[in-house]
């Protein structure tokens, strides 16, 4: 039983590590602020979700699990807000995104 949980944790950590490293690479590689927000979103959603899932497999049911899930919920609620505020402010300062525009832009 312990072995199975360990394997699950290992898989989750592997996927999480992969997604945060790819996200950080994207943060460096992508061309402008608006594209980089997507990479940061990958770190915030994919990375955290899998790491927390992996740690939940290790604890079983206790108060620690609740705290882990709380961390996940906080990051889940706050990450889109920061992304949106950053993007909105960049638009307010008249930075136009690279790439094609479809239809009328606000």
């Amino acid at each position: 039983m312990e072995l199975i949980l360990d394997i699950f944790t290992g898989i989750c950590f592997f996927i999480g590590s992969l997604s945060i490293i790819i996200g950080a690479c994207g943060l460096i590689k992508l061309p402008d602020v608006f594209s980089r927000i997507h990479a940061a979103g990958m770190i915030d959603t994919g990375g955290t979700a899998f790491f927390i899932l992996g740690m939940v497999f290790q604890t079983g049911w206790s108060l620690i699990t609740v705290k882990l899930i709380l961390i996940g919920v906080f990051i889940f609620f706050t990450s889109p807000v920061t992304s949106h505020v950053t993007a909105n402010l960049a638009r307010q300062k008249n930075i136009l995104p690279v790439g094609k525009k479809i239809g009328k832009i606000l």
Partner: protein, 155 residues
């Protein structure tokens, strides 16, 4: 009624976070939770926006769908970053929700799925930035919009 629900939520949080259950500490917790509720009530923070109860019956279903969606778009974002085929595009979509909370939920759901970000909001028109035309098409099919309208349950 709503302040009672808020009080219970706060108290549950306190009990879960503290982990020490003696009479003194629990009574301190009850006191501070009551004080928080009082401050929130004085600041008129307790309304439909602060505590959207009408989401609750369909929330679980929506969350499961959202997680699935996030997983899918994480995969495709990773592919885009590795391939390096970035063709960003910007477009506007219309939100069909009634209340402000539901609109915010829709905008946040768009932002939460990597690959699409809401950059500007004006009443019920969102400006969305997508990493690729595939992500753009995902938003433009209005599947998420319909889901959030269904979650709101006002129509």
């Amino acid at each position: 009624m709503k302040s009672l629900i808020l009080f219970l939520i706060l108290l549950t949080l306190w009990l879960l976070m503290s982990g020490h259950y003696s009479i003194l500490i629990i009574s301190l917790g009850i006191f501070s939770c009551a004080f928080c509720v009082y401050v929130a009530k004085r600041g008129k923070l307790i309304d439909d926006e602060g505590l959207p109860i009408f989401f609750i019956p369909r929330l679980l279903n929506y969350l499961i769908w959202l997680f699935k969606e996030i997983l899918k778009s994480n995969l495709s974002t990773a592919k885009v970053i590795i391939n390096g085929k970035v063709e960003p595009e910007t477009f506007t979509v219309k939100a069909s929700q009634v209340t402000d909370v539901a609109k915010v939920t829709y905008a946040n759901s768009i932002t939460l799925t990597p690959g699409t970000v809401t950059t500007k909001m004006q009443k019920d028109v969102f400006e969305v930035h997508a990493l690729n035309s595939d992500f753009g098409n995902d938003v433009r099919t209005n599947e998420m919009d319909n889901k959030v309208t269904w979650l709101e349950g006002k129509k």
